[in-house]
């Protein structure tokens, strides 16, 4: 149990009379790439918000690195090593590409307002370190030439990429991607799949991919969990999932599965 990075035990959340997520167990090991899929309204994003602390579960618990996360707000969880992207891109619109990444690197720094005001040699050294590390990260993802541009001036695909870079800048152990393929064309999706694999290999971190698009998930993930109506209806390798009658029923409807 302790070797799992993220562990969800019988997590349930109710909004009034509606049970959005019901008794879901899920675990992610170190360096593992797990997909979470399901039809529209299955509770994928709710699950995501439960893990990142936007919602608190009605019952059940979420453990990260063996520690309970009850009551911890999103910024605490990010400091513990959990980083996320957003389904509808949420970059910092008033800042440059570089500053978007810099802003995400503050959380582990000791320098605060005192260093900002005094600007001694050490503080300047530290600022230079942040900048070069940010540039390095951007270079890995081919965004180094865009450094000084406004973040929202980038084309859609690059904005998605920048969101991933920004999340990685918080030095996470677990990267949570919320529907990164949403709104992408087929070429961009192939590129995205390559990118996710690159992240996992290069940074040696775990990835949870919440995705509506089956192709991307099937091509990238080692293990997939399927949600439907807030319940986990299947879990296994891509091949197993593809053959699972419950999954086919959930995606294509009951009759097809019967046929």
């Amino acid at each position: 149990m302790s070797e799992k990075l993220l562990q969800l035990d019988a997590v349930t959340i109710r909004f009034g009379g509606l049970t959005a997520v019901s008794e879901v167990d899920l675990s992610i090991g170190h360096g593992e790439l797990v997909g979470l899929i399901g039809p529209n309204g299955a509770g994928k994003t709710t699950m995501f918000n439960l893990i990142t602390g936007v919602y608190q579960p009605t019952s059940g618990q979420v453990l990260f690195g063996g520690r309970g996360l009850l009551g911890l707000r999103p910024h605490h969880r990010t400091r513990m090593g959990m980083a996320r992207t957003f389904q509808n891109i949420r970059l910092f619109g008033s800042m440059s590409v570089l500053d978007n990444v810099r802003a995400a690197m503050q959380l582990h720094r000791r320098d605060g307002w005192r260093q900002a005001l005094w600007r001694g040699n050490q503080a300047r050294e530290s600022e230079r370190g942040v900048e070069s590390k940010a540039r390095e990260l951007l270079a890995i993802f081919g965004l180094e030439e865009r450094c000084q541009e406004n973040a929202l001036g980038l084309p859609y695909g690059e904005q998605r990429r920048l969101e991933i870079v920004r999340a990685l800048a918080t030095s996470p152990r677990l990267l949570l991607l919320d529907e990164p393929a949403a709104g992408m064309n087929p070429t961009e999706k192939v590129e995205l799949a390559r990118l996710i694999r690159l992240v996992q290999e290069r940074f040696k971190i775990s990835v949870l991919l919440v995705e509506h698009d089956m192709k991307v998930v099937m091509s990238v993930c080692e293990r997939i969990a399927v949600l439907d109506y807030g319940r986990k209806i299947a879990e296994g390798s891509p091949v197993e999932i593809r053959r699972n009658p419950n999954v086919i029923a959930a995606y294509l409807g009951q009759e097809v599965a019967d046929a």
Binding site: R73, H75, G93, A103, A104, G112, W113, Q115, N150, T170
Partner: protein, 309 residues
């Protein structure tokens, strides 16, 4: 974006302010008075810009913070002014300004911590009410002279003091905002949810902005009291807060250079147009309406891009 050699500029600005101050005996007193007022308004506008512009909170409490600083600083110099020798007067003045700023910062904390969970209009209403409460408290406190206020305050606010502190304010706000730490203020403004997802605590940034903004508003209040030599609660009413907000909007939210220019403009213009002073608030309202229609990003902003100087 970087603040290269910013400290050198700060030192230079302070030296210039001191030099002009030393030679001020030969200058026209009216112009010096207006110049001092310009400095005070720059302090107010630039510090409010940290709250309203960079951090994106809508505060209407600057008049209240200014009042706290003005009363505390004035009371201090009135009580201790007689007892210290002339040589120690600048020291006492500096101490009184810092005390006034500190008291205002505490007031900022008191209003900030419970109310910063509110957003937009709601926060504006709370800070507005807070400013009125402060005013009424001073109005009914015999210790602070009740409705007549305090008078006979030493005229210690010179051009040098006001511009020196203005330079310091500009430096502090710019140095904060342009550090990696300070990108958090803009991040909170841009997208609070994304900011917290990046490990930044939005509440902490908002409270810090309030604290710093209120501190400098308090110092500006102290300078104001020692320039006018007499203060009363009516001088810090709601219109005072609005004046500062207009400067920030006119200059462009989160654009320090623009806000400084707007503060200068809106201090000098009413002096030039004294004959039409009855129409001032009408002109302000019209100005804001026209500005919102034609240049919603502020007069002095180059593009929609934020975070510039």
């Amino acid at each position: 974006m970087r603040l290269g050699g910013a400290r050198r500029w700060l030192v230079l600005a302070l030296l210039v302010a001191a030099a002009v101050s030393a030679g001020s005996g030969v200058m026209n007193r009216y112009y010096l008075g207006v110049a001092s007022e310009v400095g005070i308004n720059v302090i107010l506008a630039v510090s409010l810009n940290l709250i309203n512009g960079y951090t994106g909170q809508f505060s209407l409490g600057h008049g209240g913070f200014m009042a706290v600083g003005a009363y505390v600083a004035a009371k201090m110099t009135l009580v201790f002014g007689e007892q210290v020798g002339a040589a120690f007067q600048p020291l006492l003045f500096a101490g009184a300004l810092v005390a006034g700023g500190g008291a205002a910062a505490l007031a900022g904390l008191a209003v900030g911590v419970p109310s910063l969970r509110l957003r937009g209009d709601y926060l504006a209403v709370v800070t507005l009410c807070f400013g009125e409460i402060i005013r009424v408290v001073f109005q009914n406190s015999a210790f602070f002279g009740a409705a007549t206020g305090l008078s006979g305050i030493a005229p210690w606010t010179t051009f040098g003091w006001s511009w020196g502190v203005a330079a310091l304010t500009v430096y502090v706000v710019l140095a904060l905002v342009h550090s990696t730490y300070g990108r958090g203020f803009l991040a909170v403004n841009d997208d609070e949810i994304a900011a917290s997802a990046m490990g930044l605590n939005p509440l902490k940034y908002k409270v810090t902005a309030f604290l710093v903004g209120a501190f400098f508003a308090g110092v500006a209040g102290g300078l104001f009291a020692h320039m006018k030599r007499a203060i009363n609660p009516e001088g810090f009413n709601f219109m005072r807060s609005i004046d500062v907000v207009v400067m920030v909007i006119l200059g462009g939210m989160g654009n320090t250079a623009g806000v400084v220019a707007a503060a200068v403009l809106l201090t000098v213009l009413p002096e030039l147009l004294r004959g039409f002073s009855d129409c001032r608030m009408i002109a302000y309202s019209l100005l804001i309406i026209v500005l919102m229609l034609l240049r919603p990003q502020g007069l002095f902003r180059r593009s929609g891009k934020g975070g510039g100087l």
